[in-house]
């Protein structure tokens, strides 16, 4: 019943965001804010995070906390690189999935069968992933092996043979490239929308499309199929599920193995972007994915938003570091908007009782917002370029800020992280 309203609200939110961003772009002249290049880069950077997050989502919806995503992702990258150079991209895809799934299987055995604390098992897998892959590299890629001939080293595999296809939207993003033309006009709003659309459709790797499709697919499977209902029930109340004849162990196994496979797929994606396995290329994305999932309230849509935010900030920072200063302006605008809303609420005739006589608290908050907006605006005016160190942490700081605002609405599956044993009601 509220779904429609939520959906509309989301649309309005996105529209408002585009307008604000567009405004900021026109004001500052930083065209990269909404260029198709930035959006494309954001997508590339967001996909592995989203895939890791999906891994987390599947596991945690089934009640298993998976902090071992990073380790599983590492396994995914290694196996993808190893199979990819020998048998091509499809083999890489399969091997990466299997590699990640094996990590998931290990986690499932430990947590589901043996009831080990989920965090411990995850930490162990994060140790094992890099250890095993390094070991495999030392054995299979060492000097004199055929792989080494093909360009492998201890820290990297040979290049994946063959390419994964890329697709573009005909007419709009390729050929006449209408969107590209629109984008280069730099018109208010028009260019922005064109840029975003073109970024999303121009020369997309097939795997990106696949990865993005996995989000709605996950939503469909988890919320609109019988299997999904059972899976979520294992995360909400496994004893209830058990009492209705659901095989909770099997559900959890499937979920956690799939979770590993998703993380592995994230690894495959990284390998495809780099064309090969490079030691350490996951760079903590397993953890970031987990954060994106919590950020997204254990839902695919929220997870997508979280990863997109991260990918966008990261892409912007890599593409044009000085653009990051516009976030100050953003912040100022958002705070002002908040102030306006607040004042409106306080002066509205039908205001709720607790706001009837605003207390010190309200005034302090509002004063804080005013000062904050002023400071941010001033920062935007005086700072041309941030030290690079601060630019690098933009995505992380943004995540923290958004969480500060939104965290209280989050709700995790009720039996998440609980060790479940058949026949032992909690």
């Amino acid at each position: 019943m509220t779904r429609v309203r939520k959906y509309h609200l989301a649309l309005i939110g996105v529209a408002a965001l585009i307008v604000v961003v567009s405004l900021v772009r026109v004001l500052t002249g930083f065209d990269d804010l909404t260029s198709s290049g930035t959006v494309g880069a954001a997508l590339i950077l967001a996909v592995p995070i989203a895939l890791a997050g999906l891994g987390g989502l599947w596991a945690e919806r089934a009640g298993v906390v998976n902090i071992g995503l990073e380790g599983m992702m590492v396994l995914g990258t290694w196996f993808a690189g190893w199979a990819g150079y020998q048998w091509g991209p499809w083999a890489a895809l399969a091997a990466g999935l299997i590699g990640g799934a094996l990590g998931g299987l290990l986690h499932a055995i430990a947590t589901v069968t043996f009831g080990v604390d989920h965090i411990i098992s995850g930490v162990a897998i994060n140790l094992l992933g890099p250890g095993i892959t390094r070991f495999l590299s030392e054995v299979l890629y060492k000097e004199g092996t055929p792989a080494a001939e093909a360009g492998a080293g201890i820290t990297s595999s040979p290049a994946v043979s063959g390419d994964t296809p890329t697709i573009s939207l005909p007419l709009l993003s390729s050929g006449p490239d209408l969107l590209g033309k629109l984008e280069s006009t730099h018109w208010f709003l028009v260019a922005d929308v064109a840029g975003v659309l073109r970024g999303l459709t121009h020369q997309m790797n097939l795997l990106v499309v696949l990865a993005v499709l996995l989000l709605p697919l996950t939503f469909f499977v988890l919320w609109h199929t019988a299997f999904g209902l059972r899976l979520r029930s294992a995360g909400e109340n496994p004893w209830a599920a058990e009492s209705l004849g659901v095989n909770v162990y099997r559900i959890k196994y499937v979920a956690v193995v799939l979770s590993g496979a998703f993380a592995g797929l994230g690894g495959v994606f990284l390998v495809f972007v780099s064309d090969k396995y490079v030691e350490g290329q996951t760079q903590g994305r397993g953890f970031i994915g987990l954060a994106a999932m919590i950020f997204g309230n254990w839902r695919p849509g929220g997870l997508a938003a979280g990863s997109a935010l991260f990918g966008y900030a990261n892409g912007l920072q890599l593409r044009s570091a000085q653009t990051v200063t516009t976030f100050f302006l953003f912040g100022a605008v958002l705070l002002l908007a908040y102030l306006v809303l607040q004042v409106h609420r306080l002066t509205a005739p039908d205001r709720p009782a607790e706001l009837a006589a605003p207390g010190v608290r309200q005034y302090v908050v509002m004063a804080g917002a005013v000062v904050g907006a002023a400071v941010l605006f001033w920062l935007w005016l005086v700072i041309d370029e941030l030290p690079n160190d601060f630019v690098f942490i933009t995505p992380h700081v943004l995540t923290l800020l958004v969480l500060l605002i939104a965290s209280q609405r989050l709700r995790m599956p009720k039996a998440d992280g609980v060790s479940y044993r058949r026949g032992e009601q909690h």
Binding site: I67, E138, F287, L403, S407
Partner: protein, 380 residues
């Protein structure tokens, strides 16, 4: 109590089996890699073939255990309360650079100098941990994410501090960035004399056996006392075992979160000091990273108890030390990481299994006892 003894024996047996299994798994890996597991085993116990090499190796082993132990303690304080402080990594980095810098700005008699450095480190670590604590308490932000994010922020922040405000002089042709060197009074005296007690050569390795080992031992004892004997420790335990019950008993959960997190961060702040005060005399850009994450494994392996953590830290350090020896024996050094991961996983699995076996034994015993005196005289 025989049941208790039974249980203890089972636990030890389980741990032993787990370690043996971990070794077996790695042996298979080594064989596959074309090496000999026996050589590997020898390498782990190969502390060098001269007296000097031996003492150096022993010092290396113990020196590695010190920060691991402190890291384990830091993590454990949070974990005992079900607070997942993944941010130990960032906390110790920020703390280390600030402490190293502050320590280099003045010169005082050694005890004062060192005390100030330790205090600064603990304070900075605690303050940095306060951020996620406050975020959790006031806005309900999950500490796992916030500390992960703060780890990244700490890396960038310390890089900035190291290059700009805290940068020290460096020699011509040196590319390492570093804070200004600590005065001599800032260096913690070593414990090399201990080696003489055992009739060994004092280690020549720089810094020898780090004196910070003593601080770590004292810290371990203090933390044990605090956690096991004080009201605060009781409240931590109660909050960890049953949050609602602790709250109903008058424990303020918000204050506890802040206190435990700050304590955890304060301890974390000390992780980098053994290296700085024992060896480097400054924070440099190749300061050892990653101890915070290893600390999680160490704490979990040590079951969040100081004594257990000490054993776990020694085990990890023992394995880490062999990295060089293994390479001399032509065995991939990554088996160390594999063994560490396998041990963590297998030991906890063994724990669960032995727990269950113990329960089953009790069950059988109870059944026997109750079987003799039939529960009720059937009427009707």
């Amino acid at each position: 109590m025989p049941a208790g003894l039974n249980r203890a024996l089972l636990t030890v047996a389980g741990a032993a089996i787990a370690v043996v299994l971990a070794i077996a798994i790695c042996s298979v890996a080594i064989v596959v890699a074309g090496g000999s597991p026996l050589d590997a085993l020898v390498a782990f116990f190969d502390f060098g073939n001269s007296a000097r090499a031996e003492s150096n190796s022993v010092a290396t082993f113990l020196n590695r255990a010190v920060p691991l132990f402190i890291a384990g303690l830091a993590v454990a304080v949070g974990f005992r309360m079900n607070l997942f402080n993944i941010g130990v990594e960032g906390q110790y980095r920020i703390a280390a650079i600030c402490a190293a810098f502050v320590g280099s700005t003045f010169t005082a008699p050694a005890p004062i100098q060192i005390a100030v450095i330790i205090l600064v480190a603990a304070a900075v670590g605690g303050l940095y941990a306060l951020i996620p604590a406050v975020m959790k308490v006031t806005r309900g932000v999950n500490e796992v994410i916030s500390t992960i994010m703060l780890n990244y922020i700490a890396i960038a922040l310390s890089a900035y501090l190291l290059r700009e405000p805290f940068a020290g002089e460096r020699a011509e042709g040196q590319l390492n960035t570093t804070t200004p060197p600590l005065p001599d009074s800032g260096m913690f005296p070593d414990l090399n004399f201990v080696f003489e007690w055992f009739g060994m050569l004092p280690p020549t390795r720089n810094g020898g056996l780090w004196g910070f080992l003593l601080v770590a031992v004292v810290l371990g004892v203090v933390i044990w006392v605090v956690l096991e004997r004080t009201r605060f420790g009781f409240n931590v335990k109660a909050s960890g075992l049953n949050g609602p019950a602790a709250q109903a008993s008058g424990v303020n959960p918000k204050k506890m979160i802040i206190a435990a997190m700050v304590l955890s961060g304060g301890i974390a702040g000390l992780i980098g000091l053994p290296e700085i005060l024992g060896d480097r005399g400054a924070y440099t850009n190749n300061f050892t990273a990653g101890l915070g994450f290893l600390g999680i494994a160490v704490a979990l392996l040590g079951r969040n108890k100081p004594v257990g953590i000490a054993f776990a830290a020694l085990l990890f350090a023992f394995l880490d030390r062999a990295q060089g020896a293994l390479q001399f024996a032509d065995i991939p050094a990554s088996v160390v990481t594999i063994i560490q991961g396998a041990i963590v996983l297998l030991v906890v699995v063994a724990n669960e299994v032995t727990n269950r076996i113990a329960l089953r034994i009790e069950e059988r015993r109870a059944a026997q006892q109750l079987g003799r005196n039939t529960p009720v005289e059937v009427a009707a």
